[in-house]
Amino acid sequence: MATPMIPPTTLPPKDLVTGHPRGGAKARERVGQAFLHLGLIIIACLTLIPIMNMLTMSLKDNGQIYARFWALPNPARWQNYVAGFRAMWGYIVNSLIVSVSSMFGVVILASISGYVFARHRFPGRDTLYIVVISLMMIPGMMTLFPSFMLMNDFGLLDTRWALILPWMSGGQVFGILICRGYFAGLPQELFEAARMDGAQEVELFLRIAVPLSWPIMVTLAIMNLVGTYNDFLWPLLTISSPSRQVVSVGLREFTSQHGITDWGPRMAAYTVATIPLLLLFLFGMRYYIQGVTSGAIKA
């Protein structure tokens, strides 16, 4: 805010009831806010340029794109979307199946293990926890090909399990990290009270811990879904048949398929590929923002 230098002994005049600045300060503040909004508008426009480009191009044909790039599509070729949809639909279904399955696995495993690490006491607890967390430092690159060979040895190559299982296993590491932090922060009295009422360990977990941790679980679920939906290299390596391929790799296949570049249907396909995440965000964005900004994610 562009507040000018104020003499040390006075505060900017504020209405004691509403808290809004009074007098000339209000005008100054309005100007300041206007600048903020202006800056944000500019940056937002820059950010949205590629997306707008995608949407406008998706309704044109190559001729329109080449000759009249900056004009709106006229006529709008909705049939591009038919082609795009047909191309992407199978990949999207596969992606959803695989991502949602692994998401469930991660949330369940991470919450159980996070809870155990947070609230149980047993020999080797801290050591085991460090062992789990240190896995985050192993780069995906290092384990990439050995994991591939492992899938080969299990005979799981080119199956959905080849995607689900490693994603579950990898995702739970981060999940355990944030779940443990969260569960450790729950007040002890709740559990004491329940124990006095005769609850068993498992009940404590299911009836008290889980309902309270709903926000963090949703955050974890969303992060996991987005992460696995975007994962490119692993499905590229392990899945070879198009019927089981996921969106990220499918997009690339689709892109390099056609001889002559037909940008309209391509952009339509990109748009179609974006739809699942869009829907996810419409429903879950609030929780995601809440989860990240609440400070749950720390190094």
Binding site: T3, M5, P8, L11, G32, Q33, H37, L40, I43, A44, L46, T47, I49, P50, N53, M54, N62, I65, F69, W70, L109, I112, S113, Y115, V116, H120, F122, P123, R125, L128, V132, L135, M137, I138, P139, M141, M142, T143, F145, S147, L150, S169, G170, Q172, I176, F232, L233, S248, V249, L251, R252, W263, Y270, T274, F281, M285, I289, V292, T293, K298
Partner: protein, 684 residues
């Protein structure tokens, strides 16, 4: 409860126990038994001689009298021996020596090398000439009189013929990848025979025109022709050995060496000059010897590794083979059988020996703990804490049980691959075949890899620019944070989170489109402002491709970074801001003294994530330029990917992966040590 330890000790003494001396005797007896177990017996070495190179043997050739035996190996050397196995001389090139051939009288030796050279040596090792080709040579052959030399290139798909003095006669592009070559006849009747990637054996004439093509069903890994060209034997990729008439192309016999359900391949083939004895080596380490009718006369399992090169002496009595176990062996055919039994016996003995050893160790400890006074004391006293620990663990068994699924998955899919990656960095590893320990060779190769060096430089650039790109979300977070209306804050947060719905691959491909020279927004925008001279092929220009990739994602407002910064800002207590206003801070001062220090936790998190991401940068390069143009946009991760997928060198890829891990580990530790998070107290 027990009485005093002293009394206990005394009680033990009263029982009949084994004294210390007797315990020692017992131990000695056990050790003696251990020594007697059948130790692995060295294979009966009635071979003529062996030689171990530093890497796979790729080709063997010899003069008629076996007086000159030349061997080409992947350790970049060619070795020349006499018939008794004494090394006469060796020559080192800059890349794998892929092929070698010797003229009949042994006076000339030609070598082919992946460093694009064909070289001709005299018998004594004097280099007569080097011929530089456009691409690496994969095999070579010399006519029996030594007058003409032919070399083939796999990548370049070309065959080159030269004369003895190094003059290039012709280079022909044969369209298909070429794998192996042999030549028969001399002078005007010289005929190169080549094995191709479209599963053909082709016989050409002296000018390279095709005379005969034999269509087979798998590509031809190695080929050999009899002296008069009447018979051609070939090893095919998917396990067959074929024996073909050199005149008509008719397949006389074929033998299936592929074991069912496996990816076995035939690798090396040799034949006597009259075509009567054929010998083949396969990927599972076996050798087959056939007669002219295709009957398997002998077979032996001589190695765990593929046999790459075979030589049969002109009269068929002497055999030589070498393969990925780096071992060259020259043997008399009559003594061939002995090799089999020796190896199998050795393996059996090893297993028995190990089993016996383990049993003896267990027995030793059992006796120690139960029978000796000292042992019993140790069990009850010194090991007591351990036993208490085990008891505590048993009590918490439900915790362990609940953790079991997690750890089962982690061990299988995270720990095992990590350890495997670490181990295989020291091996040569091709899928389907057993890994072979080669020590630090992969690492040495990595340090000589120019692609990797470019990659490191690029990765550093990515990391540094990645850090700089964090300024954008920081800026936006500050802008949003300083808005007074909560509704406005909420709305703008949503707007900037929104781009997260675009999948990563899509956003990269969208930028590929923006950079497209004809349909892309960037060049079109330059058009609009009449700045056509600034137009470029953004991703195709060596000098700017890398920067184009770095620029992708402009204006770099990452959703996660934004939220972390924003969360950090709203966590700062308002008293601090009020106090700052009282003290008369303007915005810049406030930012520098309050916001930044208290944002150190998100900054630290993002620095680590950015560092790890930058070191492993793969997607944005792979989807845009694939490392090109040239190798200007290579990254280490990309090189690792190519090593494994294009070159089948998973061991080398694992080594690179381990190096990346070490880098990341170092960076993370440094980060954790030197950038303090903002859990530190602040003075109001």
């Amino acid at each position: 409860m027990h009485a005093s330890p002293r009394a206990m000790y005394g009680a033990w003494h009263r029982r009949p126990t084994i004294t210390r001396r007797r315990a020692v005797h017992l131990l000695g007896l056990l050790l003696a038994l251990l020594c007697l177990t059948p130790l692995p017996v060295a294979a009966d070495s009635r071979v003529s001689w062996d030689y171990t190179a530093e890497n796979s043997i790729l080709a063997i050739a010899a003069s008629t009298d076996y007086g000159v035996i030349a061997v080409a190996a992947r350790d970049n050397n060619v070795y020349v021996f006499d018939d008794e196995g004494n090394l006469q001389w060796q020559y080192g090139g800059r890349n794998s020596m892929t092929g070698v051939d010797v003229s009949d009288d042994g006076s000339l030796i030609v070598t082919s090398n992946l460093d694009r050279q064909l070289r001709l040596f005299t018998r004594d090792g004097e280099l007569l000439w080097e011929f530089q080709g456009a691409r690496g040579f994969i095999d070579c052959a010399i006519t029996s009189d030594g007058e003409h030399i032919v070399g083939i290139s796999y990548e370049g798909r070309t065959m080159t013929m030269l004369t003895r003095d190094g003059t290039e006669l012709w280079t022909k592009n044969l369209v298909m990848p070429l794998y192996c070559v042999d030549i028969y006849g001399t002078g005007e009747n010289r005929r190169p025979v080549v094995g191709t990637g479209d599963s053909q054996i082709r016989v050409l004439n002296k000018d390279g025109d095709q005379l005969l093509a034999v269509q087979l069903d798998a590509y031809v890994r190695d080929v050999v022709v009899s002296a008069n060209g009447a018979r051609i034997a070939a090893a095919l990729e998917y396990g067959s050995i074929v024996y073909v008439s050199g005149a008509t192309g008719q397949v006389i016999w074929r033998h299936e060496t592929q074991r069912s359900g496996t990816g076995d391949r035939s690798r090396g083939i040799g034949m006597s000059a009259d075509g009567q004895v054929v010998m083949a080596g396969v990927s599972y380490g076996n050798i087959f010897v056939y007669d002219a009718e295709g009957n398997v006369k002998q077979t032996a399992d001589v190695s765990q590794q593929p046999i790459e090169a075979i030589l049969v002496s002109q009269d068929g009595s002497l055999l030589a083979y070498g393969g990925q176990d780096n071992l060259l062996r020259v043997i008399d055919r009559a003594h061939f059988e002995d090799l089999v039994t020796g190896a199998a016996r050795a393996r059996r003995n090893l297993i028995i020996g190990m089993g016996a050893g383990i049993a003896i160790v267990i027995a030793f400890f059992a006796v120690l703990f139960s029978a000796t006074a000292w042992g019993r004391h140790a069990w009850h006293e010194t090991l007591a804490p351990s036993r208490r620990l085990l008891a505590a663990m048993w009590r918490s068994r439900i915790s362990y049980l609940m953790l079991l699924p997690t750890f089962a998955l982690l061990l299988t899919f995270n720990y095992y691959p990590a350890v495997s990656g670490l181990y295989h960095g020291f091996t040569r590893w091709t899928p389907g075949l057993r890994a072979q320990w080669i020590g630090l060779q992969n690492y040495r190769a990595a340090f000589n890899n120019e692609y990797l060096f470019v990659g490191v430089k690029n990765a550093v650039l990515f990391i540094v620019t990645g850090f700089l790109q964090l300024l954008s979300p920081l800026l936006v977070a500050e802008l949003i944070f300083n808005l007074t209306s909560p509704k406005a804050q909420y709305w703008w947060r949503t707007v900037f989170i929104f781009p997260m719905v675009v999948p990563g691959v899509v956003s990269i491909l969208l930028w590929v489109n923006i950079y497209d020279p004809n349909y892309g927004m960037l060049n079109k925008a330059l058009d609009l402002f009449n700045l056509q001279n600034l137009q470029r092929v953004w991703l195709g220009d060596e000098k700017i491709a890398l920067w184009a990739i770095i620029f992708m994602g402009f204006p770099w407002v990452g959703a996660l970074a934004l939220l972390l910064f924003y969360g950090g800002l709203i966590a700062i207590p308002t008293e601090l801001f009020d106090a700052a206003k009282v003290d008369g801070c303007n915005f810049v001062q406030r930012f520098w003294n309050i916001d930044l220090p208290l944002l150190l936790t998100p900054i630290k998190t993002l620095v680590i994530l950015g560092f790890i991401g930058g070191v492993q940068a793969f997607g944005n390069v792979f989807l845009t330029t694939g490392g090109g143009p040239g190798h200007s946009t290579y990254t280490p991760a990309l090189e690792m990917y190519y090593q494994a997928t294009l070159f089948d060198r998973m061991g080398s890829a694992s080594a690179i992966g381990t190096l990346l891990f070490v880098v990341i580990l170092t960076g993370t530790i440094l980060n954790l040590k030197y950038i303090r998070g903002s859990e530190t107290e602040f003075q109001a």
